[in-house]
Amino acid sequence: MWEYTDKVKDHFLNPRNAGPMKDADGVGQVGSLACGDALKLYLKIDDDGIIRDAKFQTFGCASAIASSSALTELLKGKTIEEAQQITNKDIAEYLGGLPREKMHCSVMGQEALEQAIKNYRGEAGPVAEHDHEGELICECFGIFEEEILKAIEENDLKTVEDITNFTKAGGGCGKCVPDLEELLAQARGDKAACPAPEPPSSPSSGMTNLQRMRLIEQVIDEEIRPMLQKDGGNIELIDVDRTDVYVRLLGMCVGCPSSQATLTGLVEARLKEKVDPEIVVKEG
């Protein structure tokens, strides 16, 4: 059973401002039946740009309903400009916190709000459409790169699990997990405010092909193989095609669950360092 705060339970069992609004000035709908949760937010806005009333309809779990209820309470009496400052964190805080796995419910609230404001300004229809920039990352839940990067940035997310908790991306088939890892690295890399280091000049620059191959062989023989042999494994160099290095893992490495980690974490990392940062190691 989820650990819901009393406030979440209260807003779930006694939702405030539930139901449709006939004469709304702005409507925002996000989510879908397929995704398992959806929120339709209605705003009544007066001539001074103050939100006089907010109502919601939600399909979803207890925390989705409570988040929607909390959002409408937060919105009433605020100006549009103030409302725009509300983030998913404010919704979660208002409820005394949400289980981490349920943070995406608060994110849904924030997205519905953005859509409703756009709709009020005549910039968009009531239903969120995926006009996101960038790539579709999670096919299961239709989550785009832009949304993921935004969630990472605003909530200071540090792991792929966090991304799934906040955006649902990666929570279906899991195929996009490597993409999420990459986005995370990218976002967190950008965050480190230090200037990007100059790409290290490749130790093999200026070498002939033959010299380069000999260097690869030497690094494998002298540095990589002894490490694998310590665990009863071995490695064979099969071919080198420009920056693609083909190898075969032998002995105990065969069928070892961490053989992929060995390939990238040890073999590739060492060759990148000693020969050429562009090198990609493949199992041949």
Binding site: L13, A18, L33, G36, F59, G172
Partner: protein, 400 residues
């Protein structure tokens, strides 16, 4: 507030007679059955009695019963044993709707250990296709593992027929009968099933005890290595109070199986038809006939299962759901997806699983109160059958 417990496929109440039977072995009679003194020996003879009681329920020999810690251990032991006994066979057949104890293990074997696994599909009623099964059998099939009854829908698979086919092809057949034991008559002397898993806490014994039936002369490799307990087939000091409890629970299950299939079934049917008739946009998941007598899986369209469960919880009603939000993953249950239940219904599925402790008053209370819960949540929902063009929901069956 009263508790109306209708989640017996998750776990069951320990029968008071079972508790009485095990209690002395938690207090005064704490001896180790392996000991040479009479103090331990008397526990050993009680363990032997428990083994006989389990065997009697299943129609097998007591020597064919191995006590384990849970259904999951029984399942893992069975599959691993078959694979290690036949190192040249690298193919496994199971179904898409197995319990994670089998499904996750098979996916692990496929991904990490080089096995090929065929996951048999089910139709919209949750039934298997026997032609698909026969075609899937290969010369290098090491084991076929098919659950006797599905934990979410209660749908019963033709495991005896499948076991006969496997016998002809000389393939080991295992069944996860955790949900079936005590509800479906089982006679292992009349079917060529090679291995069968069961779990104590699903039939009114405590948690932490399971059993694995392994047919005589079947090649077997132990999972737990250590002492000589269970004749070397499962090392580790016996959980004697729980073993004795399981024995008693099996004896009682034999006495109650008729009741399960008449009175409990009638209660289930009353609950089911009562809800399907009064709640609009509700549907039954799973084959209506070929099903456990205690289980009913009903979807309420356009609302979400976790919200329904928490509302029911306020009324003291315990049930479970195949919705995404309750499972810890973000997708609805793999069983409902394999059956192709459309999303507008899959997220709102509720499983009621009854036991001999449920009463007609309880069933009436649920029929009376649940429709109001559904109505309240539907009032909150932006979706309804009126505006449903089906476009967002027409999801094909998962074919992974």
């Amino acid at each position: 507030m009263q508790t109306i417990y209708m989640d017996n496929n998750a776990t069951t109440k320990v029968d008071p007679d079972v508790l009485n039977e095990m209690m002395p072995y938690l207090t005064d009679l704490y001896g180790n059955p392996s000991s040479m003194h009479r103090f331990g020996g008397q526990v050993g003879s009680k363990v032997a009695e428990a083994r006989l009681r389990v065997a009697n329920l299943l129609g097998c020999d007591p020597d064919e019963i191995i006590f384990t810690a849970c259904g999951t251990e029984s399942d893992n032991t069975a599959i691993r044993s078959a694979l290690r006994a036949q190192p040249n066979k690298k193919h496994i057949i199971t179904t898409r709707v197995e319990h994670p104890a089998i499904l996750s293990l098979c996916k692990h074997l496929e991904k990490r250990e080089g096995y090929t696994v065929t996951f048999l599909s089910v139709d919209e009623s949750g039934n298997l296709n026997m032609e698909e099964f026969k075609k899937a059998l290969r010369d290098d099939t090491a084991i076929v593992s098919v659950m006797w009854a599905n934990n979410e829908t209660g749908v019963i698979f033709p495991v005896e027929e499948m076991a006969a086919i496997c016998q002809e092809r000389k393939v080991i057949f295992h069944t996860d009968a955790v949900q079936a034991v005590g509800k479906v008559p089982i006679d292992l002397s009349r079917t060529p099933i090679d291995m069968l898993s069961l779990s104590g806490h699903k039939l009114h014994a405590p948690k932490g005890i399971g059993a694995l039936f392994v047919r005589k002369r079947l090649p077997y490799r132990p999972f737990m290595i250590g002492g000589h307990q269970e004749r070397g087939r499962r090392a580790g000091t016996e959980n004697t109070p729980a073993v004795i409890a399981l024995g008693k629970a099996c004896e009682l299950a034999g006495l109650h199986i008729q009741d399960e299939n008449t009175r409990v079934k009638a209660l289930r049917d009353k609950l089911e038809s009562g809800l399907l008739e009064t709640v609009p946009h509700s549907r039954l998941n799973g084959d209506k006939e070929k099903r456990l007598p205690n289980t009913s899986n009903i979807s309420f369209g356009y609302i979400e299962g976790e919200a329904i469960l928490l509302m029911l919880d306020q009324l003291g009603i315990c049930a479970s759901s195949g919705s995404a939000c309750t499972s810890g993953s973000l997708e609805p249950s793999h069983v409902l997806r394999a059956m192709g239940v459309p999303y507008n219904f899959a997220h709102g599925s509720i499983r009621f699983s009854l036991s001999r402790y449920n009463t007609e008053q309880e069933v009436d209370f649920v029929i009376e109160n649940l429709p109001k819960v559904i109505e309240n949540l539907r009032e909150l929902s932006p979706f309804s059958a009126d505006g449903d063009d089906g476009a967002s929901c027409a999801t094909p069956r998962v074919t992974e």
